[in-house]
C-alpha cells in the first residue's frame, strides 16, 4: 500500500510518502495508524492523537474504520484549511 503524509504530518514523520506492506493485521485505517504510532519518534508525535488527523483511502475521505486492501493509497493529514 502507498501511504502519503501532508502538512505537519509530513513534517513530523519526515517524509511525504512510503510503502507499507498490506498484512492481515492491517484491516482498517485505524490499524495502520496504530502501527505507525508504534514506531515512536516523529511517527509517535504525528499519530499519537488520531482526533487531530483525517484520512483518505484511494483519494476519498475515510474514517478510522475504513477497510484496507493491497494496492490502496492511504493518506493522513490535518483537517483541511483551504479557500
Amino acid at each position: 500500500m502507498n501511504v502519503l503524509y501532508f502538512a505537519w504530518v509530513r513534517q513530523k514523520v519526515g517524509r511525504g510518502e512510503e510503502t507499507v506492506e498490506h498484512t492481515s493485521a492491517l484491516r482498517t485505517v485505524g490499524d495502520l495508524a496504530a502501527l505507525l504510532a508504534a514506531r515512536g519518534g516523529g511517527y509517535g508525535e504525528a499519530f499519537g492523537d488520531m482526533a487531530r488527523l483525517r484520512a483518505a483511502v484511494n483519494q476519498v475521505h475515510a474514517g478510522l474504520d475504513a477497510t484496507l486492501a493491497p494496492g490502496d493509497e492511504i493518506a493522513f493529514f490535518p483537517p483541511v484549511t483551504g479557500g
Binding site: 501532508f6 502538512a7 483518505a56 493518506a75 484549511t81 483551504g82 479557500g83
Partner: protein, 150 residues
Amino acid sequence: MSANVHIQAEDFDVGDEIEALTAELPQTGAVATFVGLVRGGDDLTALTLEHYPGMTEREIARIAEEARRRWALTGITIIHRVGRLTVGERIVLVAVASAHRANAFEACEFLMDYLKTRAPFWKQEERGGTVQWVEHRAADVAAAERWRKP
C-alpha cells in the same frame, strides 16, 4: 455543463475567467463570483498552500457535481492557487453562472463552504520570522453544515 477546475501556482484574471465561463452561453443571466485574498493583519506576511495532487481535483469535481445537481446552473469555474502567496494576492476563485441570480449566489456560497471544509488544502502562515500551520476553523465547519439536507 462541466465544471472547470484548476489547481495552479499561477495567478488568474477574474474578468477573463468570467468571460470564458459565459462565452457561447446566451441563456446565462447571472454570474456570482467569489475571490479569496491573502488578508493582512497580525503581522502576517505570506501564506504557503499545499494540496494533495489528484485527490484535491477529484474532491472539487465532486463538490461541483453536487452543486450542479442542487441548482440549475450553466457553468462553474473553480481555481485554487498553491505555493507561497503574499498579502493581497488572490488565493481562490469560484465563479458560477446561471439563468437567475438566486441560484448563482447560493451555489457560489455552497462551493466556497465546501471547498473550505472538504477540499484537501493546508495553509502555513508566515508572521515575522515564524511559520505556523493554520488550524481549521469551527466557523467554516458550521458554514458547510448548513447545506446538509434535513
